[in-house]
């Protein structure tokens, strides 16, 4: 599939122009989290299980060679054929070669994101095969000539009315209403049944590969996976090396997290374990089974700082909880995997040059990591990709230079104060009456969507320094007065002046500044007209210009 990740901003702009689609996505973003949290809360010990499954995943990744070999041994023992594909082209060729060996003409597929990654459908079609998607969502978008917008619900972007129009146009079934969604589902079922029965080869994906027994696990809600796997004579399971888990119970533990995170169900309608080809006494099942294990840079990810991304179980929760995904939809991301997981996987599986906009499509709000059942620190990985982007100078030089300059300036406090004091006070003078700016040089991005609030007045540091100067001057005066009266005392007995008790005197000059500050009435210094009404006390004077000590014992 043609990648358009680097025109993300244009794609997003286009996506935001259709109010009906925007509203659809808003509703999904509202309800999907509610459904998930209801399922997770009623489960009770989701977090413990999440930590447990994460440990299993990490352990498996640490010993991936071992578990892959074990899976291979067991899968071969069950009668499967096993293939390793280094990249997408290899996977496509392997699949085509199997189809050709069996003189296959018709292929049915259960939903597989991996084959979206490799562009298998187009490849097989070019070789003259008829490929039919059988997951209802995938079927809809295949008929519409579109790509998935969501890794779990590929046609979530389409309304029932759109699907109705599509079915009326594509299915040659005469006059009919298709008023209800159930009618549409029934029609798709009818059409697809024919394809299942005629297919020579079935292709499915896998949610987990179990090293212990060589089985692969697949969950569906429609049962189409089982029909793809059992009706045609040949079954091909296309999956990736990071799906392997050590034991059957690890797969089922993962399943508990996966389904609740994905659709908020306690369990999918169908959970299938495929062992291999039909055995002697089996009444049905494929005669020949192949498992194609795709790498496609996953071993590079394994060796990189992004290894945690391989813990992903493809539930789609990060998409459902991402406000940016909700805003612009999956197609804007311009490749197979959208949302937070896609913004990490796309640069890693394709290239950062082709997709460096994606890791920037993130406010670091952290909602994705909060719900991720594999506990992947998605915002950290996205920021690390921005780090790579900066190091490789892929980001705009204006931004890079601007932020460098800011960071440099922030290390020169005197210059920083001078610069910010002047800039802020100017902005304040220009904007104080109205309270903000509708346009501002160098802030076009900001002001294209919202006004720029004017600064309140002088900077805090400026005001604080002024208050402090005032305090110091007063202390100095008081000390001088005290010294004078002391010398007067030494000169002779002080005349007692009525109305001016001694206690009023300022503390002796030798008193610690901290004690002096505490003893002072907590009012703003008079004679100064600070622009804000809050009257701060100065706080204790243990500022950092005394090296090391800061006034601490």
């Amino acid at each position: 599939m043609k990648q358009t990740s680097n025109t993300f901003l244009d794609n997003a702009h286009a996506a935001l122009q259709d109010p009906a689609k925007v509203q659809r996505r808003d509703l999904l973003a509202l309800f999907a989290p509610l459904i998930r949290s209801a399922a997770v809360d009623s489960f009770g010990h989701f977090d413990e299980l999440r930590q447990q499954v994460k440990q299993v995943k990490q352990h498996t990744l640490d010993h991936l060679d071992h578990y892959l070999e074990k899976f291979e041994r067991e899968a071969l023992r069950n009668g499967n054929h096993l293939h390793y594909a280094g990249d997408g082209d290899q996977l496509n060729s392997i699949v085509l070669e199997i189809c050709q060996r069996h003189s296959a003409r018709r292929v049915v597929k259960g939903k597989s994101m991996v084959t979206e990654e490799t562009g298998l459908n187009d490849f097989l079609k070019r070789a003259g095969l008829r490929v039919m998607e059988t997951d209802l969502g995938e079927y809809i978008i295949q008929q519409a000539g579109e790509t998935p917008s969501h890794i779990v619900g590929p046609a979530l972007h389409k309304s029932a009315a759109e699907v109705r129009e599509l079915f009326l146009a594509k299915h040659d079934l005469g006059e009919r209403e298709l008023a209800e969604t159930t009618d549409m589902v029934a029609e798709a079922r009818l059409v697809l049944r024919e394809h299942f029965l005629k297919a020579d080869v079935g292709i499915i994906g896998a949610n987990a590969l179990i090293a212990q027994n060589g089985y692969s696990m697949l969950v569906t809600n429609e049962g189409n996976g089982d029909l793809c796997a059992n009706l045609p004579n040949v079954l091909i399971i296309c999956t990736t090396i990071d799906r392997v888990v050590p034991r059957a119970r690890d797969a089922t533990a993962m399943l508990r997290l996966l389904v609740r995170s994905a659709t908020g169900q306690p369990q999918t309608c169908y959970t299938s374990f495929y062992s291999g080809p039909r055995r002697e006494h089996d009444i049905d099942g494929p005669l020949e089974t192949h498992i194609v294990l795709l790498d496609n840079r996953r071993s590079e990810i394994l060796a990189s700082d992004y290894r945690e991304m391989l813990q992903c179980i493809r539930c789609g929760a990060c998409l459902n909880h991402c406000p940016i995904y909700a805003g612009v939809g999956g197609h804007a991301y311009g490749w197979v995997y959208p949302g937070p997981m896609g913004s990490i996987l796309t640069p890693l599986l394709t290239s950062l040059e082709q997709s460096n906009a994606l890791p920037n499509a993130c406010t670091s709000c952290g909602r994705c990591a909060e719900v991720c059942p594999a506990d992947i620190p998605l915002p950290d990985l996205l920021r690390d990709l921005r780090h790579d982007e900066t190091r490789q100078k892929l980001s705009s030089s204006r931004w890079r230079t601007g932020l460098r300059l800011h960071a440099w300036l922030a290390r020169q406090p005197t210059l920083y104060r001078a610069f910010t004091s002047l800039g802020i006070f100017t902005l304040h003078l220009l904007g104080r009456r109205k309270g903000g700016f509708t346009r501002l040089p160098l802030a076009a991005g900001w002001t294209s969507q919202r006004d720029f609030p004017a600064p309140e007045g002088r900077t805090f540091m400026q005001q604080y320094a002024a208050i402090q100067r005032e305090e110091k001057a007063r202390e100095h005066k008081a000390a001088q007065a005290a010294a004078q009266s002391q010398s007067a005392e030494q000169a002779g007995p002080e005349p007692v002046v009525a109305g001016e008790p001694r206690s009023r005197r300022a503390p002796p000059a030798a008193a610690k500044p901290a004690a002096a500050a505490r003893a002072k009435p907590r009012r703003a210094p008079r004679g100064q007209a600070p622009t804000e009404r809050i009257e701060p006390s100065l706080g204790t004077d243990w500022s950092d210009d005394k090296p090391g000590g800061q006034g601490h014992e």
Binding site: A12, A29, N360, G366, R458, S543
Partner: protein, 263 residues
Amino acid sequence: MTNLPTEQPSPRPALRVSLFVTCLADLFRPSVAFASIKLLEQAGCEVSIPLQQTCCGQPAYNTGDYAASAPLARRLIQQFEAADYVVVPSGSCAGMICHHYPKLLEGEWRERALQLAAKTFELTTFLHDIARLKRGERAPIKLPAVTYHDSCAGLRELGIKAQPRALLRELCDAELTELQQTEVCCGFGGTFCAKMPEISGKMVADKLASAVATRAQILAGGDLGCLLNIAGRARRSGETIEVRHIAELLCGDLESPAIGRGQ
């Protein structure tokens, strides 16, 4: 504002707090810093302001320029590590110190970052959980209906949710109405709002619509980034809801213009 007997003997030794003002409060909203000082003193703290402080390094860090950010992190550690507590009137800056400095720095600096993180608190968390600020003798502050915006970093990195609401209720008798989807980002995201303005604009428009739907007169929050964003959008769309930092509200400061409003 002088109702509070600040000279009353404190029942326990004063907590010594260094205030990290944050660059946004320093530049755009000094009253947040003054209000923070006042609240901390009301809670019986001795407050100091390290004078060399500037920025915590978040802009460069979030953009992925770790090399530019690390010197700012080391600077801040040096300036604040002698304090008993560091208090920050921002969830995202406190989150930067508590969660990201230890990731950003290595070796000895990482150790120092961890030590600093252990004593660094966001303002409302510190006031509520550590200093246990109570209304005391102070006359009640009367606030109109308020809604509270949870900033993402505060909420998810530091678990700030109950504290600001509890303080608003205890200190101000505030009538709080919750935003729909209160845990969804307002679209600020640091440089995100300028890099991807259209998406950010959609997000802040949604947030503002939820705020207006609450019929609250004030939207309060603990992070100036979010508040400048929401206030800027409110001003653009002509909404009358006032946007204010929680520190100002807890001080009863309602007379100064709200963020983005003229004098």
